[in-house]
Symmetry: D2
Subunit: 342 residues, 4 copies
């Protein structure tokens, strides 16, 4: 069987490295092109010594070259830039899996409000499918533009949409508190991210207006069947390399019982390969999911305050970015969804 | 001037070590007795090499010896055991500063509910003053039994009581999410606390019914002037040695404005030496407070959801335990409150 | 093709977990039995949640059961205990891959000197092959008892034997300084290994007489073609989960030139899949090898002092233990050596 | 008594922060000027929130202003730049304590060889005293230019000079292996120092020709009473914030016995306040010295190889930089040597 030839556009960051790690073991994929403007011409061994065995070289991103040699492209680029490459690649007829934020938001206004620029390719939005397979699997199968969710977003949507969709929790008063490892900031060289500033440090940041907020709200609203909803989302930076731990506080509706919640989770996830629902009263740990594409979920009902509390852990670079992109690619190409991801 | 001769009862744990670190530099204190049943007879250099210069030896705790040679005792013992020592020491006439949970709760029922045993010395409770100087300074001055607050509790009370007391936030729907370093679990030899289980791990635990919960609720109720209130408190374990970072979500009352909150914080803390209120929109970081007795506080109003979010950081072993005990001791003995703590 | 049915005896420690991680993805292996006396009857999800999907259960180790159902056994047991299981399993006719120290030393005297007990099964030593494939590949193919090397040992032998064997460095004055992550101590619940004692700590230990010393000396002597040699080996504990970084100081012989060393390394390792020789002047990093079966090697000649300095990094649990055992198993069963290990 | 008014020139890096931490508690010092070209005009709270209480502001370094208002200057500047400020400050008559490398080397050739520029102020070298109080205390008392030793250097000199000076070890074949926390690289914003690149990483660097090498060799030669000697010095980067752990391998002379070494260490350090000699067979740990000005030393004799192995730990920012500068300042100003440092 012919392998899918893949281009990784923007392969020198942490999401790119994770794509390389995953795809290099993917039995149905050949990594054909890896691009990095900053590192064009360099051997992969110079940037990622652990991947030296792949024998790849970074090139300048060249749409024609990618179209000529590849069957799919995964974009691990900053927002704005991703859209520039997505358009010609789609026009050229190959599916694009975009890890950036460019095609996640349905609303051009929200995009402008949160990213401070006009949307770079609004005409493509109609094709974009939100790349959360557990909710949009069928649509992913049929599109050439998959907008992979943000890392925080994935960790919040997977547990929360289930109970919202089942009508077991209210759309009012949702609070999501997330803790992320430092690789979530990207391979970014900036004072707050050097080791002595992060190690032995725990800090909240962007407690209002974080760029992942509108994306979370958009998808929670879809799940709840409402036009819109507002939530609190407070991220914290934690001294680990990888992993996101999210705790979500919810108000139960009258329909809510722990048994009903348990049932809803089992119904939603018993057949999902990348969600491990632990049960009522059980709590996840980032170390159980790092370097896997799994989201681990726990659920607690606190009768003392009549609150439902959901807990989830993912690897921000795998299920939160590159692993999920590969999962979407598997779906789009009709491969077993877990291929290369176990 | 004569120095205060102090006994540290239970000096071989992390709170004990922190007391030793602080008191060894305290100009008005002489560390007279350090006890540890497990390490009786051992030189301090064997347990805490960095404190070798103190030339102290651990002894078995002996109430008569302490009464004969000391002016004050600080108890860094497990709950239950602390009460056993507090009673005879107080009877002997010296002030006791208890870092355990034994005298923090006013309610015997709550004590039994959360600690699973009958209170070991209910007759002493009437003397106990809650050792949070920023709220009980005058009472601390006059008692011989100071019940020093729990670490999580301190980090939540210092920011939250201000707004509750000012009537700016509701007693309903309070959610406190806390992140703690591993020393908060004590010098405990247990599988979940070995390095490879904690490093590269972030996990919530005890999301309902944590032992610090009734203490938080008790003191928040006092500040709000209500009989009782219920909150959510969810602690998380984070791979740092020291530090607690708490994020508290609150519902504003009609009186609330960011300016009023700002004013309330300034009024409460501008003259406090161990609270650093950062202002509206500013966020604390544990690394700014580790190894200090300071609580750093920030406040955010999120109009998007009409929530008030408070942020605080302390060092769990200093302001969260031993530093606060010394602060109380300074107050009780009429010393400058910051002595030995800057 | 029929899969090799494998028993992992002692599967609840870190080496066991790593075997499970590797073998669960090994296309030619079926994990048939996993044993743990302490956890017998428990589902794997209770001990290693990230491996929950395997659906395995720990059993008490039972030689007859293993012989009845398995084609091979990997022992991840403490020394002494390993020998007890190796004997009947070999007698039963299945190959045994032992990660313990029981069959690594050729000398019964050294075993007793370093392990403080008489060797538990001296009669088996004649069958034992030292499980370092890069040096004993052909022998591994033919034995039923593979004694997998220690973690520190692997990191020192792979670089050093090359130059000793080529006669480029002297057998005199060899100094090996190694830095190990905490998982190297096993899943051991002991005060020195709890998080606050390891984090922000760097310490040497056992600078003379470490149990890996005789094993290193034995194999270096073999490579050099001498009866015996004495070296310094000083291990240090470093606050990382995984990884060993070794720096080895050597005296060049008259034959030595950097070019000759470079050539020797290329000759030894250009065809080896699990050694990445970086070249003269290049230095490895543990983060390039964690979770891989690769040993990364660099070589420096310091003319200022006329010393050769070798640098190597491995993952202590993979190439230093479980990965190497699987590599040996692949060889023994005629599988591609890299199967399940890339 | 009048306080010593001190200027900290280059106060916005980690050495500067450590000077601020120490001097803010120093009873005989007033911090009068803190400079930072990059942060001139900013309040200290913006750069170092934990030091907000000092109420200081960064200014542009201005020699005249410093001379007009200060009694001493501590330079925490890059090499090259330090010399520019040292000259006019000394001419202006105030003692200068330089933490940079500018005045450590006696040889202008070595300076040029290792720092790649001509020495910026060779005329000052005659006044420079090497700021290692344990060896140059009397000279420090009398000079206006103290060249504080490098961090690695301090950790190697304190143990090694004792045995060299006593003639117990040879000047031949000395090997020093050091492990440093990341703050040793300074508050430097560069890819190799961001958290995900350092965490879970252990790596050697600069195994030949490190800039601290000539300084170590110079001072070891002085201690041994020889003109010159050559050593191996291999530093490694370790994921801790603070701390250096050095292991030094030495060849004993015929005079060597463990008892003689023990005696030499006791003679050298029993009266030193900032050296904690642990004894023969005892090993130090960085966590015993972080945030102190202490160097912890252990000594092992390995009869198996006839080697002497020394072990030392310091805090790279305290005894390795800022604490040592303050110790020198205390000496120069006739204060108790430990003032502000306990």
């Amino acid at each position: 069987m012919k392998k899918i030839r893949v281009a990784i556009v923007g392969a020198a960051g942490y999401a790119g490295e994770e794509l390389l790690r995953i795809l290099s073991r993917h039995p149905s994929v050949e990594i054909k092109v890896i691009t990095s403007r900053q590192n064009a011409g360099k051997d992969i061994a110079e940037i990622f010594p652990r991947l030296a065995g792949l024998g790849l070289k970074f090139s300048n991103p060249d749409v024609n070259e990618i179209l000529a040699s590849c069957d799919a492209a995964i974009l691990a680029l900053p927002h704005g830039l991703a859209a520039e490459y997505a358009a010609p690649l789609m026009k050229g007829g190959i599916p694009v899996f975009d890890i950036s934020a460019d095609f996640r938001l349905r609303s051009l206004e929200k995009y402008k409000q949160y990213y401070k620029v006009d949307h770079p390719a609004p005409e493509l939005l109609k094709d974009a499918v939100y790349g959360l397979p557990e909710r949009y699997r069928d649509d992913i199968r049929k599109t050439n533009l998959v907008a992979c969710p943000g890392c925080y977003v994935t960790s919040i949507l997977l547990p929360t949409t289930v109970l919202l969709h089942a009508g077991l929790v209210s759309t009012e008063g949702i609070i999501a508190s997330s803790l992320s490892g430092v690789s979530g900031a990207g391979r970014k060289v900036d004072l707050p991210y050097i080791f002595p500033e992060c190690n032995e440090s725990v800090r909240a940041y962007a407690p209002t207006g974080h760029r992942h907020l509108p994306e979370i709200e958009q998808e929670l609203a879809v799940a709840a069947g409402v036009d819109s909803l507002n939530i609190n989302f407070v991220p914290h930076l934690i001294p680990v390399n990888r992993g996101i731990n999210s705790t979500i506080y919810l108000n139960p509706t009258e329909k809510f019982t722990p048994e009903a919640a348990d049932e809803a989770f089992h119904a939603a996830y018993d057949n999902e390969k990348f969600v491990r629902y632990l049960g009522i009263g059980k709590l996840p740990d980032t170390k159980h999911v790092t370097l896997t594409n799994v989201c681990e979920i726990g659920c607690v009902y606190d009768k003392h305050t009549n609150k439902v509390i959901l807990f989830s852990c993912i690897d921000n670079l795998t299920k939160g970015a590159s692993g999920q992109a590969v999962q979407c690619m598997n779906i789009r190409f009709g491969l077993p969804e877990t291929e290369g991801l176990l």
